[in-house]
Subunit: 253 residues, 4 copies
């Protein structure tokens, strides 16, 4: 099962999400804090079906992680890393290697499809922007002073998307430099092959008997699932190594 | 010894460069095919001094590689990877991971310092452009159909540099996308810390008894020294691993 | 007197602004709808002093236009046309001449000075954005389907400003084209000479006995003062002709 | 007759071009300095047919201007002003009005059609680049220190074209600013409606009895035809006024 629905409004973690029992009694009581994305994941677990959340809507809460493990279901998410964030997780490691300090990163997106329209709603926008913002600091190892992500519905762009980034860098001796990116991309074209790969890889994981969070699939996501005690891996090249090691292990069996 | 001189004109490999004896008799006869950059490297070897060629001028020829090994001298080069090429060796691996085919990559550079003036000379320009062009195909594993690199002296940019790139990508189902980069950078600021690191790392290598090509320093160069039987490593993240492994080995002693 | 204060919050036209008597009784009652910008203009009129409103804050209301004419005071405003809007009023006439239909115009601004900080406040932002948005439709003669202007405080840009524009054009046979602008400018440097010229030209107008709206100064403003029965002139080249004709008339006396 | 052929190689003005007699004896002798573009214009004059040279190839030489006037033929040229140069003749007048000094203007073009392939030939490229370069200094009234125009055949762009410009500006107190343009345009789509308008307007001129250079059609060209004693008008808005005055005159008859 792959969740490809529109972004839901931002949802805080609450007690109802902590245990399987609590979650199920929440379901019985139509608790509003249980979102559609969570219900999809719940059903997948119950059906013993691998689940992938390709959207930024929160689904992986402690109760459902326990359930996935209990039911032997591999899960992966969240929020497909397709365009602007992909570039971030590629460039940021390079800036770190070269000791170029990221003073600010300003990102704006214009898109004209239904996805853009939904993200014009402030509640959904918050969910998406939070998912996009977390990656930088984790990779760089410090807090970027001014990291902004804006998303705008702009009808003339249609199904295509444009992501414009300005990055302010501080180099040797405090000298300032700037890098600008303009990515004229197509969201669905970037997303579709990732979804196909995820389906195949989750199926392989299921057949191998893997259950719960599939960390080796992190390279597909903006906010890779991770347990609370760990930091997610965002660097695309480290993520790629995780997948390659896992695939080598799978092939070795 | 660090070679930071202006780019020399392009120089074909010739018989005079193949053996130490041939090279030395060429020196005696003022053979025009022995460039200043080669003479610097020859002197360094004779003095038992580590040598780094930070320029694109050809210096590492078979005769001098033998000499460096004979004299116990570690050498590293060539052509510091500072701006536009740095970004290439960062983005190209990501395109490979995401199966985005690079159909074309058009790069233009404007710079207003003496370096730019020298590169306005077609013979020097050829040396530089060849050094910049090799990286893509090696990383991607196929020949990019149209990869162009242009360098122009443009006085108003002064000591700063601007590198503009347009990348044409083909994604899923043959759909086309474009990424543009505009890097407003400062060549000397990007280069200086690399030179300092190279000096320290070559010194460490020397003290460790390493001699000849220092492959672990590849991440500093556009055209990393390599023996004829191997391909150079261009991917910045693979280069970084080489350095980290070497450093871990050095620390372990 | 030149108003160079920070942008005030948006202010709707109300009855209190319609007549001199009403306005003055509003002043006596501390009517909150009378803004500081209006008070500055009121004082200038009473002192017989030429007045220029270089900010987007509303000042020219019917009561104060009457007062300026009564007091023999020339007035000019509003909102200095310095960077992004300047380019709009230059490019839009060209698109009109070439029959290139503007389907959408997306403008975003990042700036890191106090001006930017004030504009992060939604109420002030609205004042500014409305002032920036009006120009296109007037020049083009039709309503641009999607014209957006965004302003963001972004600290690393400091006193400088960056204005990024994407323009979607429809040409012959409905074919689509795009133009992108990136203006790395300095607001104060663009504004200061305009203010100096305005002071000199208003002084000349005063000495000539001109009073009320100085239409010939329209080229300095994003929202040129105009009477309700007329449309403002936004096309920079038409505005320039207005100034040149007026200056020729002044020289002829 | 409209000349829409590929750009010819650059051609210096010579004695053979100065008089009708000299030109015709050159024709008899197959003089290589008489280009195909000139022969087209010659034939048009002889047939009493209006002629438009939409290419940068030199056609309007003194002998043919005399012939056109003798034969009562209106002529217009040269080199359709479609994309990058159009923007230049729009922005430069604005910089002049705002006293922003243009220190440098770097223009690069990538295009992948046959036009681009022809312009990869240095001799044709020179013709084109010279035509593109003249406009700035004429509008600004001073020599731009560093104005470069580069054209590159880049296959992936196909029938479309991309024109990237960097403009260095000096403002108040010597402060530097930069404007970048990226025009993703389509040459044929920009050119075709101009050609249709030229045909109609030349026909109208012919019917009105106008002959020789049609100055009012300057707004369609990068290098508008002009007599040696005059400077061409390049400012798009002044060119537009020329056309409007002429059209008003035509309507008034």
């Amino acid at each position: 099962m792959v969740n490809l629905a529109s972004t839901e409004k931002f949802c805080e973690l609450a007690d109802v999400h902590r245990t399987i029992e609590g979650f199920e009694s929440g379901l019985d009581n139509n608790d509003a804090r249980i979102s559609p994305a969570m219900k999809f994941l719940y059903v997948a677990c119950k059906l013993g079906m691998s689940h992938c959340n390709f959207t930024p809507s929160r689904s992986m809460v402690p109760a459902l992680l326990q359930l996935a493990e209990q039911c032997g279901v591999p899960i992966a998410g969240e929020d497909g890393k397709t365009g602007q964030t992909l570039l971030k997780t590629v460039l940021a490691p390079a800036f770190a290697i070269r000791e170029l300090k990221v003073e600010g990163w300003f990102s704006t997106n214009i898109l004209g499809n239904n996805d853009g329209l939904v993200l014009n709603d402030p509640a959904s926008n918050k969910t998406k922007v939070l998912s996009k913002q977390s990656v930088l600091d984790d990779i760089l190892g410090y807090e970027v002073e001014d990291h902004q992500v804006h998303i705008h519905y702009y009808r003339p762009r249609g199904d295509a998307k444009e992501a414009w980034d300005n990055i302010d860098l501080i180099g040797f001796l405090g000298e300032r430099m700037q890098l600008k990116l303009d990515f004229l991309c197509k969201d669905s074209i970037l997303a579709a092959p990732l979804v196909l790969d995820l389906v195949r890889l989750l199926d392989l994981a299921h057949r191998r008997g893997d259950r719960g969070i599939q960390k080796q699939l992190s390279l597909f996501f903006k906010s890779p699932y991770h347990v609370a005690s760990e930091r997610p891996v965002h660097d695309l090249f480290k993520q790629h190594q995780l997948l390659q090691s896992w695939a080598a292990g799978a092939a070795a069996r």
